[in-house]
């Protein structure tokens, strides 16, 4: 039977072996990181984007940039579908052989190509159209992330023990921006006020001074739901128990979804210093403290409370689909679906994008590329494992949702230090929402910029920040209320992993073009490409078989038909985009095999 200590030992071994015996070897023998070579941060230093930065600072920055809800949600969803053991294996093998390679290589390629982004490098090395396709791909990818995250946040906020902490976060975020940048108050004082206030609100909602707040939110939700007792619509959840798979989308769910949009709207249109940044800053302390203390609790639990440390979730359910999933008509085989359900903890395309446009431009010394890129990815792996442990120790109650199990697991780990479980669970919920919502607000900001860049020249209205933000939110809203959450999540996972394989393709082309051994990038790149393309097709089939075909032509099912139809189209679009990019990539590979890139002499610092 599994327990937290076993997982922690596996994690330590995986990181030690993967980093020291594989990653360092690639860095030394294939990439040949040279501390004397001038990096773009030094060559093009502008004090803003290009700025040599200490490796420790950059490691923290890169980890913070890549750590979001992906490793948490993916691990808890996959553990529910196939058991904790396959999730553990994929997280471990994925990060050891693929995840670090993707993150690290994206930084390497950017550093060795004047700090250009992956899309700019693809434009230069592969083909001009590759960049255009990649940009279209990224927009739909952002939409899917927003849809998957929006659904999660609304679902958790609909729980009456959660909202006050997030409302406080919004208010204190505005206050923090004002105090820091206008009143010029001391950072430590502002941090204490903001983080303390948010934590107090979380605990108040959990019943610190009685159940008044919980009762108030419960009554409010009931009052909202009284407007439409049958709900707004129903969506399928193939992972739920047989007979309970038609999930009602309640009015209160829609209200909290809109509340989340209001939160993100402020983050997308207000100056970044006034709201988005302070909210992220407070969120960092809430989630950081929770993760560190819960991680320590998971380790100590084995010695202090062995019953808490023991996994209650089955180690393995089935290779094919569970009975409930089969009953729904869906098809969820472990291969390829596990590899897209768990995205960021094992390998992620998002990391490659961030690494190439941001981290790579601050690398001071080529020897920092591995500790920053690879090191941050190995750290994110531990976040995925923490989520997996939390859900595995708290599975006794089948009524709990996946997020509920995660929060309950965090509550158990915090209980090791004497914090009552109900407060620990509330903190687990709050930390989860904070980590998701802070990323979601930035997604809408990026979507707004993307729309303005894309369509702003043709239709000036897209340059209007309010219009483009609301448009992104309207699309996300439709996706959330009409879609099946698990399919949206898996489609997000497929596009995310496909992005990782495409970034590895760019890396592979660069390695071949510069006459290096491309095997370490080629094997994970091809594996992820095939797996994720298959997964996107399986998800499109699942949507068709379980939602579209069963709803089309039926009265009252128009939203489901529209939503599933659009999502199927997005899935197919992603696959087509990936095929085009791979075709161009293979042609580029053939081209560079015949005639490698002519490389300029290395810029070297004194």
């Amino acid at each position: 039977m599994g327990n937290t200590l076993v997982v922690i030992v596996i994690a330590v071994l995986a990181i030690f072996i993967g980093y020291n015996f594989y990653a360092k070897r690639i860095d030394r023998e294939v990439i040949k990181a040279n501390p004397k070579r001038a990096t773009p941060a030094k060559m093009y230093m502008d004090g803003v984007d290009f700025m040599p930065t200490s490796r420790n600072v950059l490691y923290g920055y890169h980890f913070k940039s890549i750590a979001a809800a992906g490793p948490i949600v993916g691990a808890i969803t996959a553990a529910g579908l196939w058991g904790w053991f396959p999730s553990l294996v994929w997280l471990t093998v994925g990060v050891m052989f693929m995840g670090w390679a993707s993150d690290y290589s994206a930084i390497v390629v950017s550093v060795r190509n004047d700090g250009n982004s992956l899309s700019a490098i693809a434009h230069k090395l592969i083909a001009p159209r590759t960049r255009q396709i990649l940009l279209i791909f990224i927009f739909f990818y952002l939409l899917l992330v927003a849809g998957a995250f929006g659904n999660l946040v609304a679902g958790v906020l609909n729980n009456p023990i959660v909202p006050l902490g997030i409302i406080a976060l919004a208010g204190l975020g505005l206050l923090t921006g004002q105090l820091l940048y206008r009143a010029k108050m001391d950072l430590i004082v502002v941090t204490l006020i903001a983080v303390g206030g948010t934590l107090l609100a979380v605990l108040l909602n959990a019943g610190l001074f009685g159940n008044g707040v919980v009762d108030a939110f419960t009554s409010f939700n009931k009052w909202l739901n009284s407007f439409a007792p049958g709900g707004v619509t129903t969506v399928l959840d193939p992972t739920a128990a047989v007979g309970k798979q038609n999930i009602v989308v309640t009015v209160s769910f829609v209200f909290w979804l809109l509340a989340m949009f209001a939160f993100c709207y402020a983050g997308a249109v207000l100056p970044i210093w006034r709201y988005a940044q302070p909210v992220n800053y407070i969120g960092f302390w809430i989630t950081g403290l929770t993760i560190v203390v819960a991680g320590a609790g998971a380790f100590l639990a084995f010695f202090v409370h062995p019953s808490v440390a023991t996994f209650k979730l089955p180690a393995f359910t089935t290779f094919l689909s569970t009975a409930a999933v089969q009953k729904s008509g869906a098809f969820q085989p472990l291969y390829p679906m596990l590899f897209v359900t768990i995205a960021c903890g094992a390998i992620s395309g998002w990391h490659a994008l961030i690494g190439s446009v941001s981290t790579a431009r601050q690398i001071e010394n080529e020897e920092d590329m591995l500790p920053v890129g690879g090191g941050a990815m190995f750290s994110e792996f531990t976040l995925g494992l923490l989520a997996l442990m939390a859900v595995a120790v708290a599975a006794a109650n089948p009524r709990l949702t996946a997020t509920g199990k995660f929060a309950a697991g965090i509550g158990n780990f915090l209980n090791v230090f004497g914090l009552p479980t109900k407060y620990g669970t509330a903190i687990g919920f709050a930390a989860f929402v904070v980590i998701v919502i802070t990323v979601t607000q930035l997604l809408f900001r990026i979507m707004r910029v993307t729309l303005a860049e894309w369509l702003g020249d043709r239709a000036p209205i897209f340059r209007n920040i309010h219009f483009s933000t609301l448009l992104g939110m309207a699309a996300t809203f439709l996706l959330v209320i009409s879609g099946t959450w698990v399919y949206i999540w898996q489609l997000f996972g497929a596009s995310n992993q496909l992005m990782a394989s495409l970034s590895l393709l760019v890396v592979m082309v660069w390695l071949v073009a510069t006459r290096r051994n491309a095997t370490y990038a080629a094997i994970p790149g091809v594996f992820m490409y095939v797996t994720t393309t298959l997964a996107a097709l399986v998800t499109a089939y699942n949507l068709y078989a379980t939602v579209f075909s069963k709803s089309v032509g039926k009265a009252g099912k128009e939203i489901a038909v529209f939503g599933s139809g659009v999502t199927i189209l997005i899935a197919l679009l992603i696959v087509v985009a990936a095929i085009f990019i791979a075709y161009d990539g293979i042609r580029a590979l053939q081209r560079y095999r015949k005639k490698p890139l002519e490389v300029a002499p290395e810029p070297v610092t004194a």
Partner: protein, 93 residues
């Protein structure tokens, strides 16, 4: 480039590393955004004062000439940032 400060040994080194990592996680992006905002303002200032360089004569050349010494140190950075090719993914950073 200036000389790197000497690393402390033992506990001091561990504490210093932890401090830097913490700063990187909590505040580095805030510093970057502040710098970016300042850079945008400076670029706007250069555009207004030295617009002639781009064929946008906003200020009479007399005043441009008077302001020239203050702008000269920024010009190479300004040129690099202005000429740098960008796409949507740059907004992620």
């Amino acid at each position: 480039m200036s000389e790197q400060p000497k690393r402390k040994r033992g506990l001091g080194n561990i504490f210093g590393t932890a401090k830097e990592v913490m700063y990187g996680m909590a505040s580095h992006d805030m510093s970057r955004h502040a710098l970016r905002t300042r850079a945008s303002m400076e670029h706007l200032f250069i555009l207004i004062t030295m617009g002639d360089l781009l064929g946008v004569p906003i200020l009479p050349p007399y005043y441009s000439l008077r302001l020239m010494p203050y702008v000269v140190p920024q010009i190479s950075t300004w040129k690099r940032r202005m000429l740098r090719e960008r796409d949507i993914t740059d907004s992620l950073g």
